[in-house]
Symmetry: C2
Amino acid sequence: MAFQQDIQIGVLGGGQLGRMLLQAAIDFNLELHMLDPDPQAPCHQLASRFTPGALTDYETVLAWGQPFDVITIEIENVNVDALRELERQGKKIYPQPDVIALIQDKRTQKQFYQERGIPTAPFILTENRQEVSEHLHFLPAMHKLGREGYDGRGVQKIGGKADLHKAFDKPGLLEKLIDFEKEIAIIVARSSTGEVKAFPAVEMVFHPEHNLVEYLFAPASLQQHISRKAEEIALKVAQELNIIGLLAVEMFVTHQGDVLVNEVAPRPHNSGHQTIEANYSSQYEQHLRAILGLPLGDTACKLPSAMVNLLGEAGHSGPARYAGLEQVLELSGVHIHLYGKKITKPFRKMGHVTIVDSSPERLREKARFVKDTLKVIA
Amino acid sequence: MAFQQDIQIGVLGGGQLGRMLLQAAIDFNLELHMLDPDPQAPCHQLASRFTPGALTDYETVLAWGQPFDVITIEIENVNVDALRELERQGKKIYPQPDVIALIQDKRTQKQFYQERGIPTAPFILTENRQEVSEHLHFLPAMHKLGREGYDGRGVQKIGGKADLHKAFDKPGLLEKLIDFEKEIAIIVARSSTGEVKAFPAVEMVFHPEHNLVEYLFAPASLQQHISRKAEEIALKVAQELNIIGLLAVEMFVTHQGDVLVNEVAPRPHNSGHQTIEANYSSQYEQHLRAILGLPLGDTACKLPSAMVNLLGEAGHSGPARYAGLEQVLELSGVHIHLYGKKITKPFRKMGHVTIVDSSPERLREKARFVKDTLKVIA
């Protein structure tokens, strides 16, 4: 496909991922049109056209999608039937509606891994809380809602019988608790031309309570054979899904050196923010290249990096202020990304900070300093 | 000054430099309001507010400037009297009106260097063409218009008597032709807090005919003592001007190892584009930090880089197309910046390409390939 500047591109979702996608699109002089239910979403002032509306409503998505040549997503909780109809009308929907549908439900996602021989933690499908209680032998496990889990919601640890009340009373799955050594993610890009490239693995550090990524190091420090295995698995998932666009593959590395797929996201991902500063091509540029059939960019790291999510401070709700910003800006190699959300709430993703540094030790120190110093308060 | 997200910032000019400044402002969640005479200027869709209007008109600038706390520029050909009045009203004008006024006229600029002991090529002020003809002994020389020269306009080489008809018949200066080994530039940032930092020197390669930068390498390959001398001179110019904001200092390095200031620009500069991909902080982020009194960023290079300007192809005028873009995107480490100008004209700056690569040899090869391959045509 020859590069057309006037191609009309629609994006479902106008959050921070869409905002960084917009930033990448400026350099290609591409206009992105976004749909998002929140009229104050991070893209609302920056999108070439911003439409407030429900992503999950068939008629809304179908009507909104009419003017576009290519439609993509920055969140997977969208109306797939409308996308199927838009695809039938001849529009390019990347990632494809069938891929989004499969990934939207963690149950079909897990079954897909099982069918395709992709290593993943053992699991049992459950229809309701009662069924969970019938599998005490399988505990400790994570109970995951099939649909609409996101950012730590829809996941509960069921350690034993005493935790059964926490189980969801809706279709879900019990997943064997993995005593993992590391959690990593690899973002794969697959172009409409069939070209495929993987970014180097990144290593996630989770907040002990809130089940949100607290900070992230890239590239992950892995033995070479583990790193190779993880990349092969991530590429295999993308190939088996036949996805066009980005696929973020989250994986566990066990103490035995096994690599198990946890879950995937068919879009730019929190674990790829640092590619803006730290890699030859960012995940956002890569996503645009992939869905437009342009050659994929070099995914290598320029330098090691760390990424700290800026979450709304507990106990603070209201217009956001950023305490400690100046101290953080004094550090070398720090880059601040604020998402333009006017209102902070506890644990809301308000921005992130990327740090690049040739020394992994300094990176860890700086990440810790940023986390301890920069607070989003009201 | 504590970081205020709701600070109102006005920018005189809405061209490509303003566009990249806007891109940097997004990450700080800062809104920029631009004034530019061209209703289709590169910022017209991206600015938080875009006002079409003459930058050189007193009343226009004065009225436009009323809502802002801080006003900056992305082009120096602006009405300084209006800025002085806005400053008198209590607004922060960075760079300061007196600095802009001094730099607007190459004659006062040169006199300033002379008075402050800043090395620069010997020169003679001339009022008209007749006066140029009275200085045949001083030739070969460059004749420069005092005011309104920009991007290669307002400069003529006067090799000898036969070239006298090319001299400007307006106030200007004759500058001794410097048989330089290299032309370099150093961008200095000076914050409202007084903090000062210099980016590493970059080396410019000019198009033999059009007197526009053709490509650029960073960091410049200079002997250490030359590099140190150049940085000292650039910092001295910024300090003597007392400027707040960015100052791009273009310098000649002679075969004898002298470093002479050619001219300066009080704003982000074409010679700093590559800092977006290749340095820890970009010149655009640095400018924002400087005018907002935030700590200045680390100016060091992450990797060596080259920057190729994308100029409108000779013989092509009309809606722009970008031939060869896909081939260029196949190269590793290439980042395209299109400026969003719909219409191309011969030698119009339509975009640029940054290349980062750890090998200076590959950088030169890739820069050459980009220059030979990517053409802006109509």
